[in-house]
């Protein structure tokens, strides 16, 4: 029978007199970075494979979250009559962009974390030398990878219904192309918007250590998210309708930076505060992260008491 470890020499004692560890931590910044990149690559790949198992559910989910496309239909007439803050072409492009942003900023960590706490399945995560946040975050990335072709198909379908969005109108001809620079900024903004949404929900999820059905609290953040994020109307509509105070007030909340900001970057004709947008996104991510860490350390003691 073969020995268990290929690297153990019983005649070579370790400083503490115990068998050599079967794994070792990365030494040095380069090795640390390689280790984290490997973790990210492997976990994302495995979680993508897992999400492919649930592909039909994800397709239905993508279809069910098509609220922005519905809002496009509702606001089109207002835009055509000039009663909307955006023109008809920008309205079309804005809501299609919001749909795309929405697809890649969906977070469900609240439900996932609650399940892991209540069922005790958090235990194996706590016993590994890897913060569970990696797993919860990367499983979302895997899900987005699985969602990608469905989103492409749905955007293609929207383009069939609103072909002007792609090729332009008679008044403003030209293919929808935000430019490489703006597109790259939009991709970054979408990722940060996802991180905002994820960490906001993750911080809330920590209450699962105290409240058994923490998912019941989801509407607390979801309702303002729907109405203030730009999914129902661009937040600049508030400025046009109620004045600067309403607009500035909403910009103080995290919600417009989760959809309105990245979506506006994808629409060439729409002006958006780029520096303020990224700075605000980073600040909110920091706030949610600090809150999450605070609750995490306190909650772990409660988790033990719940039966681990």
């Amino acid at each position: 029978m073969d020995g268990f470890s290929e690297n153990i020499d019983p005649s070579r004692p370790t400083p503490d007199g115990l068998p050599e560890p079967g794994s070792s931590p990365p030494v040095g910044p380069a090795a640390w970075l390689r280790d984290r990149l490997r973790r990210t690559r492997v976990m994302t790949g495995v979680f993508y494979a897992l999400m492919v198992e649930y592909r039909i559910e994800i397709l239905l989910w993508a279809v069910a979250t098509a609220l922005p496309l519905i809002m496009l239909g509702l606001w089109s007439e207002a835009a055509a009559s000039g009663k909307f803050v955006l023109g008809p072409l920008d309205t079309m492009r804005y809501f299609i962009a919001v749909f795309v942003v929405r697809q890649f900023t969906v977070a469900w960590v609240l439900y996932d974390f609650e399940y892991h706490v209540v069922s005790g399945k958090l235990t194996p995560f706590l016993l590994a030398p890897c913060d569970p946040t990696w797993r919860f975050f990367l499983i979302h990335i895997g899900e987005q990878g699985c969602r990608l072709p469905f989103v492409a198909a749905l955007v293609g379908f929207a383009m069939l219904i609103y072909p002007e969005a792609l090729r332009g109108t008679e008044a403003r001809p030209g293919v929808w192309a935000p430019g490489w620079g703006r597109f790259a900024l939009a991709v970054l903004a979408v990722f940060l918007a996802f991180a905002m949404r994820f960490f906001m929900q993750y911080a809330l999820a920590m209450l699962a250590f105290w409240v058994e059905r923490v998912s019941a609290l989801e509407p607390v953040s979801f309702v303002p998210y729907v109405f203030l994020s730009g999914m129902v109307f661009p937040v600049t509509q508030l400025q046009a309708q109620y004045g600067d105070w309403a607009y500035e007030l909403v910009l103080l909340t995290p919600f417009p930076w989760m959809a309105w900001f990245p979506a506006s970057l994808l629409v060439p004709g729409v002006e958006v505060p780029i520096v303020r947008g990224f700075a605000t996104q980073l600040v909110w991510i920091g706030v949610f992260l600090v809150l999450q860490r605070f609750l995490w350390h306190r909650g772990l003691r409660k988790y033990s008491a719940m039966g681990a």
């Binding site: 560890p21 280790d35 495995v46 235990t123 033990s304 681990a308």
Partner: protein, 349 residues
């Protein structure tokens, strides 16, 4: 260096106390009552490298709570725990890299993917190179005879195959201390034997310390040199399995086959008659008097065959818990006439 050094560990839970029925629900809603439950009461235990220690106790005795505190999932209410020189609850990476906890009722395998995918994640998390991880998986899978099942979704595996896969996932980083909570729970006899054999090999070749709780005495007798009996959060016995039998089983069972029937009263001089079925008789003889009585018995009775047994370990352990329970109940009933009945002798896990 001791791998586990726990001194005077206490764990107290605060649990809600709700009376049944509508009235109880209303009272619980407006004036919640709690009570403290002492799951572990001043337990001290030290484990040396390479030791295999079995935790025995009835449900709720505090075995799993102890394992969880040693693995870092729980913080003791009082006392000091050091495992591999670390405070487990701090869950430092250097500590986590050298331990593993396998729970028979909780799994780390990803349900809808093959076990091989979980192994890939573990290899990345523990920073084990791909080729080394694959070699380890191959060896562990060969030992557990599960090579052909690692690429089927976990949900399609049998319970035994899942537990074997769990063990591979838990041992991929070759822990120095292995905590096992009911590792053979629900497995068939063959799978139980395979897991036991595997753990014996792992302990012998890797020099790892193993701390095990099990409902199956066969796990304990097959694997553990030392047993710790826990009852109501306190240690009743900590020592070798053989010592346990000597200490708590003062009688030996002497089975006789006779050539002709003998009147039952003639056995009284040798011991207590356990059963008498024609020519087959079983006597319970005090251990101390065995050497003196057996020659006499052979000389005075028409004996064709004679065998001497220790009583089954299950029976001994059951007796220990029953005695502990009786002494507790006795003390309680002295002040509380409504104290519960003592546990049945067979209620051993």
């Amino acid at each position: 260096m001791r791998v586990v050094d726990a001194q005077h560990i206490v764990k107290t839970y605060r649990v809600a106390d709700k009376a049944p029925g509508f009235g109880g629900t209303m009272r619980h809603l407006f004036r919640r009552k709690h009570r403290d439950v002492e799951a572990v009461r001043g337990v001290s235990i030290a484990i040396e490298p390479g030791e295999v220690v079995g935790f025995l106790g009835s449900n709720g005795a505090g075995k799993t709570t102890m394992l969880k505190m040693l693995a870092g999932l729980m913080q003791p209410t009082d006392g000091v725990v050091r495992v591999l020189g670390h405070d487990p609850f701090r869950r430092e990476a250097a500590f986590l890299r050298r331990i593993a906890l396998v729970m028979g009722n909780k799994q780390q395998l990803i349900w809808d993917l093959p076990p091989a995918e979980t192994f890939r994640i573990n290899a990345a998390v523990y920073n084990i190179p791909d080729d080394v991880a694959q070699a380890r998986v191959d060896r562990l899978a060969a030992l557990l005879e599960i090579e052909d099942e690692l690429h089927r979704p976990v949900r399609k595996l049998s319970l035994g195959q899942r537990m074997k896969s769990e063990l591979i996932a838990a041992l991929l980083h070759e822990p120095t201390v292995l905590f096992l909570d009911e590792p053979t729970l629900g497995l068939d006899v063959n799978a139980q034997a395979a897991v036991r054999s595997f753990l014996r090999t792992y302990n012998a070749e890797r020099g790892a310390a193993i701390l095990l709780t099990s409902h199956y005495m066969a796990d304990i007798t097959a694997l553990c040199d030392r047993v710790v009996l826990i009852d109501k959060g306190s240690i009743l016995h900590d020592g070798a399995l053989a010592t346990l039998v000597d200490r708590f089983a003062p009688l030996r069972e002497v089975a006789l086959k006779l050539t002709e029937p003998v009147a039952p009263e003639r056995f009284a001089a040798f011991g207590e008659v356990e059963s008498c079925d024609g020519l087959a008789v079983k006597l319970l003889v005090p251990r101390e008097g065995l050497a003196e009585r057996l020659p006499r018995l052979l000389a005075e009775l028409p004996v064709l065959d004679l065998t001497v047994h220790d009583p089954p370990v299950e029976e001994v352990v059951g007796r220990v818990f029953a005695e502990a329970s009786q002494s507790t109940a006795g003390a309680a009933s002295a002040v509380d006439p409504d104290a519960p009945e003592p546990l049945e002798a067979g209620a051993v896990s």
